[in-house]
Amino acid sequence: MSYLRQVQAIVWKDLLLEFRTKERLVAMGAFAVLSAVLFNYAVDRTAVRPQDIAAGLIWMTIVFGGLLGVGRTFHLEAQDGAFEGILMSPAPKDAVFLGKTLANFILLYVVSLLVVAVFMLFFGLELGASPAVLALVLCLGVLGFVSLGTLFAAVSSGTRMGETLLPILVFPLLVPMVIFGTGATGRLLASRPVAEVVGDIRMLGAFAVMALAAGALLFRFVVED
């Protein structure tokens, strides 16, 4: 129970800070809306149907926008050496990782729902027959993404290249998430039967579990001396 309370403390602190500063939510939300507007003008509707490419654009917007927020995970921690204070507490490093990942997940999941809503508006999409399943696909994809993003944000925050390094480290590892996330989202937006996306959902779930476990195991080696 004490482990969960430590995780909860990290989540509470990160969300409260974000609520106060709105630094990352505003950046990610603005990026999502502006990307959808630009994609709307970039697509020649006489040559391609928007719904055929919307799923890919949605996931690319989530990835790029999410990186804006996840990349700044440790920015506020650097202020006044606060993260050092966390590391000097008896909280296990994996609890710290899970807390920060969960906070990032909540923020990015909200943004991903906004992304879908904005694309529906600009691309004239319909939600499909299974909005709950679409929400699950987004949930698993975002969880896998923030798990890797939080781990590598910790890596890159300790380097001179900082946020420039983060996409170079993370993007190659996101290929499975993009493939299965795009596949499932495209079919769900086209109102295809849920049975067609069960395989994709399983793969997204496996990706999320592996990313979360790898992050929890490796985080201590990133942040400890």
């Binding site: 309370r5 909860q8 602190k13 409260l16 506020l76 006044d80 606060a82 204070g85 000097m88 001396d225």
Partner: protein, 250 residues
């Protein structure tokens, strides 16, 4: 003033709070801490003086468990600092010249957050007590970013003491404080000499360091070039003695 003495005094095992043996810390070819032995009992307040680059902060980092020694070991109340099981961190409180505080959280929110990490269950009682102890009761609802530097240092001290640590480590706590803020902090630090806690403070400030110490060490080139009891020191001639010790003339 006593002759140079690098041998720590002997304490009975049950009286030892901090025991560090053969501490060495290397950064590549640079040796920051070059073999330090240190044994402290309850109620002792050790001030470590030394010039820039003497390895004082590295020594404190090793005692705090924020960095691993290249060689040697540290125990607090008989529990060796082990990076797998970090329960010993409950026995240590650290105050650095950085506060480890979140400026967008309030004073109470900061203490509540760190209290939860230390698994403290009586925070509703503890937090007001600690704030009263450091004279910040009337600032409980203020964001840390709204506090003066002196108030932040006192809050950082409240954070470091929140979990009642046996060992308190202070890294240049007077840095950047004006005289009145330093006086307030000094008063709070004097309160640490309650016979229960053990304190190690590293500082450049000879006056503040001597005023608080029960034991004194001078660190240079990664090792203690002198250590002894506060009563062995003549305050008037200490500055000259310090410079001679640092320059290796003693």
């Amino acid at each position: 003033m006593a002759a140079p003495d690098t041998a720590p005094p002997t304490l009975a095992t049950e009286d030892v709070v901090l025991d560090a043996q053969g501490l060495v810390r290397e950064y590549g070819p640079v040796v920051a801490v070059a073999g330090i032995d240190l044994t402290l009992g309850p109620g002792e307040f050790l001030t470590v003086f030394g010039p820039n680059g003497a390895g004082k902060s590295s020594l404190l980092g090793l005692l705090a468990g924020s960095m691993r020694p290249t060689l040697g070991r540290v125990s607090v109340r008989g529990q060796q600092l082990d990076f797998g099981d970090v329960s010993w961190r409950r026995r240590i409180g650290v105050l650095s010249h950085r506060g480890f505080l979140y400026h967008d959280l309030t004073v109470t929110e900061n203490l509540r957050f760190f209290g939860r990490l230390f698994e403290l269950t009586d925070l509703d009682r503890r937090i007001p007590e600690r704030l009263a102890h450091v004279g910040l009761s009337d600032r409980a609802g203020f964001k840390v970013g709204q506090l003066s530097h002196g108030m932040k240092q006192r809050l950082a001290l409240a954070r470091a003491l929140l979990h009642d640590p046996d060992l308190v480590l202070l890294d240049e706590p007077f840095t950047g404080l004006d005289p009145s803020a330093a006086a307030v902090l000094r008063k709070v630090l004097v309160g640490l000499k309650d016979g229960q806690r053990t304190v190690v403070m590293v500082t450049h400030n000879l006056g503040e360091g001597l005023a608080l110490a029960t034991r004194v060490a001078i660190q240079a080139r990664g090792r203690f070039v002198w250590q002894g009891g506060r009563d062995e020191i003549d305050t008037d001639s200490f500055e000259r003695f310090y410079h001679e010790a640092v320059e290796g003339r003693r």
